[in-house]
Amino acid sequence: MGWFITRRAGAAVIVLFLGSVLVFAGIRALPGDPATVLAGQEASPEAVAAVRHDYGLDQPLPVQYVDYVGRALHGDLGRSTQDKLPVSKIITERIPITLELSLLAMIFAIAIGVVTGIVAAARRGRFADYVATGFGLIGLSVPHFWLGLLAILLFSVTLGWLPASGYVPFVQDPGGNLLRMLMPAVVLGTGFAAVLMRQTRSAMLGALSADYVRTARSKGLAEGKVIGVHALRNSLTTVVTVLGLQVGVLISGAVVTEQIFVIPGFGKLTVDAVATRNYPVIQAVVLVTVVAYIVVNLCVDIFYALLNPRVRLSGVTSD
């Protein structure tokens, strides 16, 4: 198991390295003088010169890269061109908000998606299955930002039940916070739930027709145990894998969802930054996202190994 983690971590580090190089190069690839880019369009010549000195932009590229990485590891991600605040501070303020949104969306998606998938598999071919599969298909096909607009149309404009936008910190007003997060989380989680439902159903169907389920029944175990313990256990690996793959989609989705519901999170930061050509922020956002994504995938890999004894004991996965 330790060996397995080391191998996976090693691969992750390589990808991390290449990713950071890409981000680094991206900014340098912009037309024009990097110093102006990083200082912002409105910066005075002195400010630009200061930036050039600060970032060592007259140094050879490899040196710049090392410097960049060094700073990043220390938490220095530059300064926003909008308000001159340190980018790291901005990010740290906004990430928890997006995390809360994502977490709520995931909880919703897992609760609805996995449960529906299990039920659909257990009641295969019957009414419940068709309903579930139908919803799954729709959930996959509908662009979730449209779903957001529809939700606002229905629940805010027409029914007036839920606020259409805004954010209140949890510590300040838990009720208000959750009320405002409800629609965004459900909207964000819907697509994810649809994918989870399909995958769970398919994995469970496979498990339920397996020989070991027949053995479990021959032992006289209650049907609930057969489905919930024997079949489910072997489906979990598929579900977890899907979870890992979908995290990226979740992050992308958060960007759009925050835009619609005007939630001052990480995602909205990204969109605003592009609109205002706030390159230090853009660069930092991309970097942070990539790092987070790689780390999450590493965790998923490890969790997968924990669930699958064959992988754990031999350290080999199919690749």
Partner: protein, 263 residues
């Protein structure tokens, strides 16, 4: 079910190709009828600048089609050869290619598109590039997987022993098998690309006004949600139908062409 998908896809294609020719000018502004509800003159209503929604939907279909098809085509054009080569010359090329694929995958699609928009500026062309790059890993993996699978088959070493060149093996044995999987992949990739373009345009990172795109129309619609709800409904319905069509078609094709895939 797959038939329903086919119907939807064909309808979508017709709309995109012929629609704009029949429905009138999507940019014509009629200030006397702004935010008008559906009427005989404007079957789907008008937006805040008095433009006919139906015409904009039809033209928007064209944009979506372009984005979906061109990006998938480009991705295949680049990805299939890479996948073939990676699968074939396993020893040194494959690990390199796979690591690069992992790097691309490490960038969640939207973040990558955002970065690209930041560097290159927002436009339909850049959206298509971003979409192509996002699809590359999937296509490379599938093609590579096919190559690896076929290589295991006994008839390949036999053919090579008989003097077949690498190229011959690829064309005669690998590609036919890969084509099926790739077709299925395309039916998944195109709708994803359509939604991707809509999302990017919605965020202002893609198609710029006044060019109609379903995503841009939705951005606009959000402001007028209370006064003109139909503005928000139509573009979304169109996206959903087009996507649903491809998804259903894809499911049906998958059952026929690639029964191995888990369903």
């Amino acid at each position: 079910m797959a038939m329903a998908g086919l119907v939807l896809v064909v309808a979508f294609l017709l709309l995109a190709l012929i629609g704009p020719l029949v429905t009138g000018d999507p940019s014509a502004q009629d200030y006397s009828a702004t935010l008008a509800p559906p009427s005989p003159a404007h079957p789907l209503g008008t937006d805040d600048l008095g433009r006919d929604v139906l015409a904009r939907i039809a033209t928007g279909a064209r944009t979506s089609l372009q984005a979906g098809v061109v990006s998938t085509f480009l991705a295949m054009l680049v990805g299939v050869p890479i996948g073939l080569v990676a699968g074939f010359y396993r020893r040194w090329l494959d690990p390199v290619v796979m690591r690069l694929v992992d790097v691309v995958l490490a960038f969640p699609f939207l973040i990558f598109a955002v970065g690209l928009a930041a560097i290159l500026g927002p436009s339909l062309r850049n959206v298509i590039i971003a979409l192509s790059v996002a699809q590359l890993p999937g296509i490379i993996r599938i093609t590579r997987g096919e190559v690896l699978g076929i290589r295991e088959m006994d008839y390949v070493p036999g053919a090579i022993a008989d003097g077949a060149t690498d190229g011959y093996v690829i064309f005669r044995y690998v590609l036919p098998g890969a084509v099926n999987a790739l077709i299925v992949q395309a039916t998944v990739a195109i709708p994803t690309a359509i939604i991707g373009e809509a999302t990017l345009s919605f965020l202002g990172l893609g198609v710029q006004p006044p060019t109609p795109s379903w995503g841009v129309m939705l951005t606009n619609a959000q402001q007028f949600l209370a006064q003109a709800p139909w503005l928000a409904i139509w573009p979304g319905v169109m996206i959903a139908l087009a996507t649903l069509g491809f998804n259903l078609l894809g499911d049906g094709l998958r059952d026929v062409l690639d029964p191995r895939s888990a369903k």
